[in-house]
Amino acid sequence: MKQALVQRLGFGLLFICITSTLFFLGLIIYFIFTRGISVISWVFLTQAPRNAMTAGGVAPVIAGTLYLTLGSMLFAVPLGLACAIYLCEYSPKGAIVNIIRMSINNLAGVPSVVFGLFGLAVFVKFFGFGVSILSGSLTLGILALPLIISASQEALLSVPQSIREASLSLGATKWETIKNIVLPTALPGILTGVILSIGRVAGETAPILFTAAAFYLRGYPKSVFSEVMALPYHIYALMTEGAHPDKQKAIAYGCSLILLFLVLFISGIAIFLRQRQRSYHG
């Protein structure tokens, strides 16, 4: 049977495709894990760098990533949620909504380095925030905005229309309905989306290159107007700057492992939660 043979070959080919995908991506995780794990120690996780980045730990770097991520979410979550609420709950269908939708889609496709330049021109220069946690957080926040909006929209749309009607029929106003019924029901979905965006933002480098990141600072940032070290930029800088490439490479392995673990852990939680979320009538 010729046809049967073709089918076997074709299926075999597809099997090779997926195994190579998993193999190569697994390879990255494997290398970073096996070579990075020896660098990780209590000192590495809890102390500041010493001797021109060749010794000590990376605690302020991890903290910097947390600050930037937290800052970006403080900015993007309320804004993105408000935007999703308007699109799902208030907007009459029409030209304005189409324009808003289109701009969200296009914002999502803007290359991350372009966000970096925008942040540099607007937050660093125009508003005069300088290279700082504030500028970096705002820049990352804009990058995260479309992610938050579409995740929130999806969550709001999954709230059945019937319970909105039930609430309104009891004499609740639109805002009372949104606040008491729609948002609590959509909350798990919104949270999942926010967690996924956190995973994405924590690993972004290009937007903070010119807006927030510094290679070597003594200790922790003092205020939102301070420059900051951050894991993704730190990995890059360790590999391209400094005077001791070999010692720095070991630290870069450690940083990569921490970043990879952090991002996979955060995204893993979100994906796991989403798999488990039950629908209203489930």
């Binding site: 046809q3 074709g10 995908t21 208030y90 296009n106 380095v113 925008f118 690993g203």
Partner: protein, 296 residues
């Protein structure tokens, strides 16, 4: 007026206003890129800027021709597409058509998880593992080449392409498959002659979005492409894509100088290219949804 009216109106207005934020940021980005990029067109000439073959921004006198950078971006992206189509689309076909329910329940989230690996980690991997490997295999002066960037970028785009393609495949109604089986086609014939054509534009959307992501990707190409601003002739030479030029040079370009404006102009070109990609993807995906009778 009833007591609740004012409060309700207020909330509606707040949400309406905030919902314009995305539009404002998008317009803001366009304005910034034009404002900061235009001066270089005046200084160097638009055509000379786009088609100039020499990028020597810090020489005296400087030369601002970004053709090598544009070609490098396209070159690397083309290479990435060659890597990520078989891997990404192939994996999606496997997941949708061959994998059993439990296998799929497990693999889909795993692929999605892999999509979240940060680009700087890919870049780092390319630098410390792939670079020496390529150098040895091809006996090159440096392993940081267009090939390296293409491999890493392609691998990086694979999970995204796979996820979006898989979604497109799952939209193909089962009735199509059943109709094909009913006339005696086997699974492979059904897949290649019914399912893939039906999902074709959905898969194209996935590939275009993957390309858009690859061409705008910064850290990986900055770390592994080698950085030579010359017109690429082979995959085994170092190149400097647009994003890498911006990221590497912005730090040292004096603010407000020609070099600074030139980098913004590169970003403008990059923005326009990805804009076209995204619009194309949106149009194709809208047609796809209409074709399969899903809501536009």
């Amino acid at each position: 007026m009833p007591r609740t009216h004012l409060k309700e109106k207020l909330y509606k207005w707040i949400f309406t206003l905030l919902s314009f934020s995305s539009l404002i940021f998008l317009i803001g980005i366009v304005i910034v890129l034009f404002r900061e990029g235009i001066p270089i067109f005046k200084e160097a000439g638009f055509l000379k800027f786009i088609f100039g073959r020499n990028w020597y921004p810090t020489y005296r006198p400087p030369e601002f021709g970004i053709l090598p950078l544009i070609l490098a971006s396209l070159w690397v992206t083309a290479g990435a597409v060659i890597v990520c189509i078989p891997l990404g689309v192939g994996s999606a076909l496997y997941l949708n058509e061959i994998a059993g329910y439990r296998q799929k329940q497990f693999l889909k989230p795993v692929i999605e998880l892999l999509a979240s690996i940060p680009s700087v980690v890919f870049g780092f991997f390319g630098m410390v593992i792939v670079t020496p490997f390529l150098q040895k295999v091809f006996n090159l002066p440096t392993g940081m080449t267009a090939l390296n960037a293409s491999l890493i970028l392609g691998l990086m785009a694979t999970p995204t392409v796979c996820s979006i393609s898989e979604d497109a495949l799952s939209y193909v109604p089962n009735a199509f498959r059943e109709a094909s089986f009913a006339v005696g086609a086997n699974r492979w014939q059904t897949l290649t002659q019914v399912v893939i054509p039906a999902a074709g534009s959905g898969i194209s959307t996935a590939i275009i979005l993957g390309m858009s992501r690859a061409i705008g990707e910064t850290m990986t190409v900055l770390m592994v492409a080698g950085g030579a601003a010359v017109i690429p002739h082979s995959f085994l030479e170092p190149v400097r894509p647009m994003t890498a030029a911006i990221a590497a040079e912005m730090g040292e370009a004096p603010m407000g100088g020609s070099h600074y404006h030139a980098l913004f102009a590169i970003a403008l070109v990059l923005f326009l290219i990805t804009f076209v990609f995204n619009i194309a993807a949106e149009i194709i995906s809208r047609r796809f949804r209409i074709k399969l009778g899903l809501s536009g």
